[in-house]
């Protein structure tokens, strides 16, 4: 075996090792996969079936998404109903308070789902991140 062949062999080993170390990035999951659809629908179900409740949202989303849920947060803002002569109006404040109800500390890629709970007194945008 000459030096060139040996060098090529070493390079092939190095390249394969590096390839293997980065191979996790091709294990991509698309938004249409079961777990993100499940979360999307779980969040929709929560919006449809009751007023916003942080504990209910966190528990249900974690149950529906299992280990794929990496973050649940909320943007909470105030809303008001005002009256004018002969009519009624509605306004929201965009100055929202951000809350985190669950954070697994997942540092990699994620998909983000957002849903809005609207009520006469306030609104809550729930943000769920699912591991990508």
């Amino acid at each position: 075996m000459n030096l060139g062949r040996a060098l090529e062999l070493v390079l092939i080993v190095l390249v394969v090792a590096y390839f293997a170390s980065r191979a996790h990035v091709v294990a991509m999951r698309w938004h249409s996969r079961q777990h993100t659809q499940t979360l999307n629908r779980a969040l929709a179900y929560l919006i449809l079936t009751g007023p916003h409740n942080s504990t209910r949202v966190r528990d249900f989303v974690l149950k529906a998404g299992g280990g794929d849920v990496v973050f649940i947060g909320e943007h909470f803002g105030l809303a008001s109903v005002y009256t004018a002569p002969g009519s009624v109006g509605y306004a929201v404040s965009l100055l929202a308070e951000d809350r985190v109800t669950y954070d697994s500390g997942w540092p990699y890629g994620f998909y983000r789902l957002k849903g809005l709970f609207l009520s006469p007194e306030n609104y809550t945008v729930v943000e769920v991140r699912a591991r990508a």
Partner: protein
Amino acid sequence: MALAVALLATLLLAALANYRELTPEPRVVVVRDWVQAASVASLGRLWIWQASRHGYFCPMFKRSSTRAFYALNETYGLGVPPLRNLTRLMGEGNETVGYVLYQVVFTRPWRGSWRHYVNVTVRVGYEFLGTYYKVVGGEEVLYKRYGLSYSHRYDGPWGSLTLCDLGLRDPEGLADVEEAGECEWLVGFPASRGNYTLADEFGIQVGVGWAWTGRP
């Protein structure tokens, strides 16, 4: 040759890894699914909350809340499409029997036309059943008993969802509210009141013995 292919594959993979770490959330398409439609249903329910208190869908309330909704849509990137709407309040009744139907229909653009997106329907129906006596504070008080049917229906990409368990509550604390079946309740209240108003967990008012008489 093998080395060249392996090197190319590794470089491509490294570039993909780098891209992915820099942009953890690819923004190639806006994915619309049930959660956007449910957020729209939440807006429709807010309109019904207003109509249940005033007896009509106030155009200013619809306009201002739609503006607020789209401000939130823009701020938080909710991905809700442009919408058109149609609202309807129907009802008639007296102390004996009556009903109210609130309906909000949202349509969205689809291949050059507008197609149904989300419908929110709230229905209240009541019927006088009789009277009974109840001991309150040591005195016998005459109560009126009504059969009440109350439901929410949400039509959207998920199909049709009917809700019966809506946490009916009695803000004044004078009524007897008892579940009698699917979307059915028995409601009793002091006869001296003539009629009564309950509320659901969203704050929508539910009239017993009275009904808004709006027409489309």
